[in-house]
């Protein structure tokens, strides 16, 4: 396994666990270390079991491990649920003010040489002049000491976090110091991350950012001017982020009464010439499907994000999944072309939003972006987004100035590519009807057999153009390897991390990430499959939706597969072990 240092902070919701995670990640970055933060929480406001896991390394990565080095337990349940995840020589920190460890647990931990450190967080917070809500800051001080890092880095970040409430800074720093010093007196054998890792000062310039925020920045940068949405986990934080940040750029952020409205507003706004989008989860997208079909028929651009979580029905609202690929590819009545794409990491979450709008406008069709809870709500360390890479392409729009006055324009003109240049209502060019009924070039309703077939063929022609022009899937790792894996979406990073690890052990793997899933580039994919002795798909769903789609498009069976559908993302250990098992097959 690649050397990582893993800490899990767990307790009841409302104990400030998310803030602790943010402070830790920012402090680690300041200390020149790379971290990845992953949260687990139930669908409750308060109470329930909250988890924040931070993994630390000196090399970029973005995945989670099963084994912990440190468990910070803020309540008794945390010990019961997670103590077995602690590896040998790990640390258990627990809040003695909240509960006591029973002998059985103590013995079990000691046989694994786990150091047990009891802290009375409430007493320590009070003695530092703080209140109960500052227990999490005390615990951060203690953790920082276990890390063996410089306290000044942590207190600097705490000062920054509380900069809007300067009065709170001194007491929070005191709380952190109290936690830090408590470890010094109780235990001398602290683990210095500086000994395990080589710190990299470059990381200090990186961002600590969640997937939804990154996507939100992509939405702003892409020139989206209307964002309409109905809250639904895991994309609710995108709505709240844009309501706060997008509006600073004048973007209209409209919380709609339902997903049907959100989607129709996007179509209406795009029809009248601005960029608009909405986001939801699978359940909300169910309500948008008729509008998706409308976008297909009107040939009006439409962009939606589907942040996946496990279904069916309400499913596991706050957990992760990749079960909505079929939904994205097949949703909507009738047949019409569409594009389905899935960003794989934080950089793609930012960059691909503009691309989604470019494609929607260029081909005048709906574009769906599949993300998931893991991508949307994990906290990434990442280089500052390259804004130079963001470019806008609005497709063919006829303006009053460049319209040829002698020409009769038809909105749904038959063309070679199937794309008919559009112009915006209000332009002094020519009237037309954008008609949800089958229509003529002018947009008038028709039931004529020939006209109906010709218009359906015109729309579907765009799929050919899209397929020719979409980027091919990317192949990572050793492209010539005997073993190939194919995956999509947020699995990208755990697979890349596993490949990097196995490479150091001499195992070579080629990994194809399909970012643009529909229309599927079946020739490139087919060639990749045929070039491998062993081929497998990795997906967070039960049926193997990508695998089935590939079979349907290429006629090729992919026998090996790693699938998961319990709401958890793939852990690095699972992927490493699976890929090793594929190697055994080659022998």
């Amino acid at each position: 396994m690649p050397r990582r240092f893993v800490i899990k902070v767990t307790g009841a919701a409302g104990q400030g666990i998310k803030t602790s995670g943010l402070i830790l990640a920012k402090s680690l970055k300041e200390a020149g270390l790379f971290s990845f933060g992953y949260t687990e929480y139930p669908s409750l406001i308060r109470g329930g079991h909250n988890v924040f896991q931070i993994e630390i390394s000196d090399k970029p990565f973005a995945s989670v491990s099963l084994q912990l080095d440190v468990l910070m337990a803020l309540n008794e349940e945390s010990v019961r649920l997670h103590q077995q995840e602690l590896g040998k020589d790990g640390y258990l920190l627990f809040d003695q003010g909240a509960f006591n460890l029973n002998e059985e647990v103590k013995n079990a931990l000691q046989t694994r040489n786990i150091q047990i450190i009891a802290l009375n967080l409430l007493d320590m917070a009070r003695q530092s002049g703080g209140s109960a809500i500052m227990k999490n800051i005390v615990s951060l001080g203690a953790i920082w000491k276990v890390f063996g890092l410089d306290l000044a880095v942590l207190t600097k970040v705490i000062s920054e976090i509380f900069q809007k409430n300067t009065e709170a800074i001194p007491v929070n720093i005191k709380c952190a110091e109290a936690g830090f010093q408590a470890i010094e007196t109780n235990s001398t054998d602290t683990n210095s991350l500086n000994k395990i890792f080589k710190n990299n000062p470059e990381f200090a310039d990186y961002l600590i950012i969640g997937g939804n925020e990154a996507q939100g920045l992509g939405v702003i940068a892409a020139g989206v001017r209307l964002y309409s949405s109905y809250p639904m986990t895991p994309t609710s934080s995108l709505l709240t982020y844009l309501a706060k940040e997008g509006t600073k750029y004048g973007m209209i952020v409209k919380q709609a009464e339902d997903e049907i409205t959100a989607a129709n507003m996007v179509v209406g706004a795009y029809f009248n010439g601005t960029r608009a989008m909405c986001a939801t989860s699978g359940g909300g997208f169910d309500l948008m499907t008729e509008t998706l079909s409308l976008s297909g028929m009107l040939e009006t651009p439409f962009v939606a994000i589907i942040g996946q979580r496990p279904g069916p029905a309400t499913g596991l609202p706050t957990w992760t999944a990749q079960g909505d690929l079929n939904l994205a590819v097949y949703a909507g009545h009738g047949e019409f072309p569409r594009i389905v794409m899935a960003p794989g990491d934080i950089q793609e979450a930012f960059q691909l939003t503009a691309e989604a709008h470019n494609l929607a406008e260029k081909y005048q069709l709906p574009v769906l972006m599949l993300t998931d809870k893991f991508l949307g709500e994990s906290m990434y360390t990442t280089p500052v987004f390259d804004q130079e890479h963001v470019s806008l392409n609005r497709g063919e729009i006829i303006s009053e100035e460049n319209a040829d006055k002698s020409k009769t324009y038809l909105r749904y003109q038959q063309t070679e590519s199937g794309v008919s240049p559009r112009w915006l209502p209000g332009s002094k060019i020519s009237t037309f009807a954008a008609n949800s009924d089958e229509h003529t070039g002018k947009g008038y309703t028709t039931e004529d057999a020939q006209e109906a077939a010709a218009m359906q063929e015109k729309r579907m022609l765009k799929e050919t153009a899209v397929k020719q022009n979409l980027p091919d899937p990317t192949v990572y790792g050793d492209t010539g390897a005997e073993i190939g894996v194919i995956s999509w979406g947020s699995n990208k990073t755990v697979i890349l991390d596993a490949i990097a690890d196995l490479e150091s052990q001499g195992l070579k793997i080629a990994f194809m990430q399909i970012t643009y899933i529909w229309p599927l580039k079946e020739i490139v994919i087919s060639d990749f499959i045929k070039s491998k002795n062993i081929i497998a798909t990795i997906e967070c769903n039960y049926r193997g939706q990508l695998r089935t789609l590939i079979k349907q498009s290429t006629g090729l069976d992919i026998k090996d597969k790693l699938q998961k559908y319990n709401g958890r993302p793939f852990y690095i250990e699972e992927v490493v072990n699976y890929l090793k098992s594929l190697q055994v097959k080659t022998i």
Partner: protein, 305 residues
């Protein structure tokens, strides 16, 4: 609350045709409505209202729902948009937000609006988008051959209700008032000059203007024919003493009254439309349509560094 943005009217733009006339709106497609259908009158009044406001075919966006009303989409030469059943309001609202300078009229029937689109109606009234909503209220589903809608009287036998409608009759005007309507009017296809004026007044209103049009359906509605309605309607604006209050409008629109009021039943003259309430757009006087460009997000990155 901060001062709202300067009130903007979409009716002050450059027009596509000098002195537009009715024939400018003439489409080569002939109407398909039944003989005697109220849609002919609404169709004519709509064109009249546009012409009288000096608006040409390329100066407006007409949005249609599904139903006999929606068949108007190609019977009028203008920029037209036809969406899905019950969904015309959010479609028109999105279009309006993108280009507030383009006057937008949304047209729908009582079936789509008060059955599966009722949430859109209620929330658009709450949002108070500056669009005009013309409701073809004929108390039945015409295009699907005469089923009941929420405005069909209770007990009325319809082809899907052979034992009579079991449900209470919905009162759209009272519903609109309780949802915070800032402009409600009722027209009647038997009085075209009044209906034309109502459409014009609605288009001048800075907010969501709801014009409920009592419309005869000669094929499926024999319980409220033209004469039935004509005998009951009166114009509230007739003598100039109409009390313009929500309470009064609520009272006179009740189904228990023998007479049916028409005219502008309530208007909040100080109405502030959705866009004019967006204080965060005070520095953006233009329209969203013209604001699509790449935005530099450097300032927003600070929070994450």
């Amino acid at each position: 609350m901060q001062e709202p943005n300067k009130v903007t009217s979409p009716l002050t733009q450059n027009n596509s045709v000098k002195n537009p006339a009715l024939q400018d709106f003439q489409s080569p497609v002939m109407p398909t409505w039944c003989p005697g259908c109220g849609d002919y009158a609404i169709w004519s009044c709509l064109k009249q209202a546009l012409v009288q406001q000096n608006l040409g075919p390329m100066d407006v966006l007409l949005c249609f729902d599904i139903g006999c009303n929606g068949n108007m989409v190609d019977k009028i030469n203008a920029y037209c948009l036809k969406g899905l059943h019950g969904r015309v309001i959010p479609l028109a609202a999105g279009a309006h937000l993108a280009n507030k300078n383009l006057p937008i009229i949304a047209i729908a029937g009582d079936g789509g609006t008060f059955d599966e689109g009722i949430q859109h109606f209620i929330h658009a009234l709450r949002s108070n988008y500056r669009i005009t909503f013309i409701l073809h209220n004929n108390c039945d589903f015409g295009l699907t051959t005469g089923q009941a809608t929420p405005t069909t009287p209770e007990g009325q036998k319809m082809n899907s209700s052979p034992y009579g409608v079991m449900e209470t009759r919905l009162n759209p005007l009272q519903l609109a008032l309780s949802a915070g309507a800032t402009f409600i009017a009722r027209g009647f296809t038997g009085n075209m000059s009044q209906l034309t004026e109502l459409i014009k007044s609605g288009m001048q209103h800075n907010g969501f203007s709801y014009i409920d049009v009592l419309q005869h359906c000669p094929t499926y509605n024999d319980f409220q024919d033209l004469k039935w309605t004509k005998d009951r309607v009166y114009n509230v604006q007739e003598d100039g003493s109409y009390p313009n209050t929500r309470e009064n409008a609520y009272k006179i629109t009740d189904y228990s009254n023998e007479k049916i009021p028409t005219g502008i039943l309530y208007q909040d003259k100080a109405s502030v439309s959705f866009l004019d309430k967006l204080t965060y757009r005070q520095n953006y006087q233009g329209i969203l349509k013209d604001e699509v460009k790449k935005y530099d997000i450097t300032d927003s990155l600070k929070e994450f560094s």
